[in-house]
């Protein structure tokens, strides 16, 4: 305690806006609460996996499915084992990866643009990724098939489409180190529309077989899951999530603006480039295996910011866990609601996510920055 403290004493705080500590934390530090939330979200994901394995036209209970997974399926009939390991398990694995990728991409993009409404689906990045993938199906099909690149070419093209869109978006919306949110959203709509128009051209020139494959893109679905897709998309998505570990503290600093992030010793240019690459890779991989599934990237990070605060060190992994759980539950709903047929999952996430987006907008949190 120095002399100045006595001349200029502290005073008592009010209680408005008080955020309680975690059970053992320092007041105002939500790290303990965030760690507890991560644990709960892991449990939630495990439950969602069991639900995902048991839901569907064929009758395998959640208990049987969970047990079968652990024991290798010895207690199951041959038919149930086939359904579990060759149909449902890859589908659930893909759902986990895609959900995690979408929510993670949303959280990173929101951090990069300093706005809770930025999302790859809304600002046209998913459309760019879909354009890349559709171009491969329609134009590059014979070529890729000849080189046996099919399963790799699709995510790579989607990644490139997403990368070009994200980079363009950032260039357009950022002037002199400041990102203009209205410009971002409007430019995103324009780029999304452009990518949509080009995708339309592809659809126009596609033949019947390609058309059937393309329908899948417009609404999004996990139905085409194979182990091959799981491994390719999984590798890309896991790499992006790993990059997120490095991004976390820099994205926090970025909330104070690019100049201040630099003063705090963060390599801002590098941070932006890695963020863009990670978002493009994760979104591209997700879109290439599941088509356009919207709003997971808005819903999961936003709910978590309310729960554990915006520190990216916890927000990024928590978003991945919650996104995976939400997508598995949406997929289960898509399979159960109109069984034995199934809804495209995009319809389920859209009809829950779009009203949520409007709610965020109406709460006035959307445009508080800049």
């Amino acid at each position: 305690m120095t002399a100045t403290d006595k001349v200029w004493p502290p005073f008592a705080p009010g209680l408005r806006g008080w955020v309680g500590p975690g059970r053992r934390g320092v007041p105002g530090d939500r790290a303990a609460r965030a760690r507890a939330a991560l644990l709960l979200l892991s449990v939630l994901l495990a439950l969602a996996v069991c639900v995902g394995l048991s839901a569907g036209a064929s009758d395998v209970s959640a208990w049987e499915a969970g047990l079968g997974l652990v024991t290798g399926g010895e207690a199951l009939s041959a038919r149930d084992r086939l359904i579990l390991f060759e149909i449902r398990l890859p589908r659930v694995a893909l759902g986990v990866l895609v959900g995690a990728a979408l929510a993670f991409s949303g959280a990173v993009m929101q951090g990069l643009f300093r706005n809770p409404l930025a999302d790859p689906g809304i600002v046209g990045v998913s459309s760019g990724a879909a354009l890349g993938a559709v171009a491969v199906i329609v134009l590059g099909g014979p070529l890729a098939a000849a080189m046996e690149l099919g399963v790799v070419a699709l995510p790579v093209a989607a990644f490139l489409g997403a990368l070009v869109t994200t980079a363009l978006l950032y260039r357009i919306a950022t002037r002199a180190g400041r990102t203009s949110v209205p410009t971002l959203l409007l430019a995103g709509i324009a780029l999304g529309a452009l990518a949509g128009a080009l995708t339309g051209v592809m659809v126009f020139v596609a033949d019947d077989g390609q058309l059937r494959e393309l329908t899948f893109w417009s609404l999004g679905s996990l139905a085409g899951a194979t182990w091959e897709k799981v491994f390719v998309a999984g590798a890309i998505i896991m790499a992006s999530l790993a990059a997120g570990l490095w991004l976390a503290r820099g994205l926090d600093a970025l909330a104070l603006g690019e100049a201040v992030a630099g003063h705090l010793g963060r390599p801002v240019q590098m941070l932006k480039h890695v963020s863009i690459a990670a978002v493009a890779a994760a979104t591209g991989a997700a879109v290439s295996v599941s088509g356009g599934i919207g709003f997971v990237g808005i819903v999961a990070p936003h709910l978590l910011r309310l729960l554990i605060g915006p520190s990216h060190r916890y927000l990024l992994p928590a978003s991945a866990l919650l996104g995976a759980s939400l997508l598995l539950m949406a997929d289960a709903a898509a399979r159960v609601l109109v069984a034995p047929a199934e809804l495209p999952i995009g319809i389920v996430t859209g009809s829950i996510g779009a009203p949520f987006f409007l709610w965020v907008l109406l709460r006035g949190r959307g445009f508080t920055v800049d």
Partner: protein, 268 residues
């Protein structure tokens, strides 16, 4: 020591600084004064390494262009004029960002307490758990100051003295906190650190500064010890209003001469 030689900075097409040479030594409070648009903030940003410039800026004798951002963060902390913040961070989380960039890394007791110590230093004891966005403007400004303090907490580091670059830290605050911030800067310099700040209230400058840089139209009108710069003729000239300096209860007070805008040539 931060020193700049023949500094030229353009923002867009406008040349804002036109050949500015200044020295900011450790152990002193250096204040930049000047009318609106004279280039005060630009000078501070250039010295912080935020803007492209021609000329030469050296920190501890080494060109600013050679320092890496991570190294700079260990030596100087910067408080810009307008502080934006995206997302609902708590006050403690904001101050901790500064602490993490400076001495508050790791999990020691000191690292844990540093944000609270810095908050107490700016009169925000106990504000840690509150949401930054729900504070008043003046409180938010002091949170940013606490963040800067947490980053450069000890005025003397392993690489030599540390520097605080503060753009109008006391503006918009009530008189009690203005005095608090000014004496905080004074104290930081007394303990060996360097402080460069933009201040508008000339009475505070006369009272707390060791040396003053007076800018006018992007050039140094005069720079040197406080009593050399804070004198009526120079101040009246650069601010465009006749000023007198009086002494009240032992403190210098800068008094604008009574008169109408028309009599001193201010457009009406």
């Amino acid at each position: 020591m931060i020193e700049a030689r023949d500094l030229i900075v353009s923002l867009g097409r406008r040349v804002v600084l036109r050949g500015v040479s200044v020295e900011v030594p450790a152990g002193k409070v250096t204040v930049v004064i000047g009318p609106n648009g004279s280039g005060k903030s630009t000078l501070l940003k250039a010295l912080a390494g935020e803007l492209p410039f021609s000329g030469d800026i050296r920190l501890h004798g080494r060109s600013l262009k050679i320092w890496r951002v991570a190294e700079l963060a260990q030596i100087r902390a910067v408080m810009p004029q307008a502080g934006a913040l995206a997302f609902p961070f708590t006050v403690r989380e904001v101050v901790r960002m500064g602490a993490l960039a400076g001495a508050g890394q790791g999990s020691s007791g000191f690292a844990r307490d540093l944000p609270e110590l810095a908050l107490r230093r700016v009169g925000l004891d106990g504000f840690g758990p509150r949401l930054f966005s729900e504070l008043s403007g003046g409180e938010q400004q002091r949170v940013h100051l606490a963040r800067v303090l947490a980053q450069a907490w000890e005025p003397f580091g392993p690489d030599g003295p540390r520097f605080l670059l503060l753009d109008e830290p006391a503006s918009n605050l009530d008189i009690r906190h203005q005095m608090g911030i000014m004496s905080l800067a004074r104290d930081y310099a007394t303990r060996g650190g360097g402080v460069l700040m933009v201040v508008h209230e000339l009475g505070h400058v006369a009272r707390f500064a060791d040396q003053v840089i007076a800018l006018h139209n992007g050039k140094v009108a005069r720079a040197g010890p406080t009593e050399f710069v804070i004198e009526p003729k120079l101040l009246s000239g650069i601010f465009g209003w006749p000023l007198r300096i009086a002494e009240v209860l032992g403190s210098p007070v800068i008094v604008p001469v009574a008169g109408t805008a028309a009599t001193v040539g201010w457009p009406t």
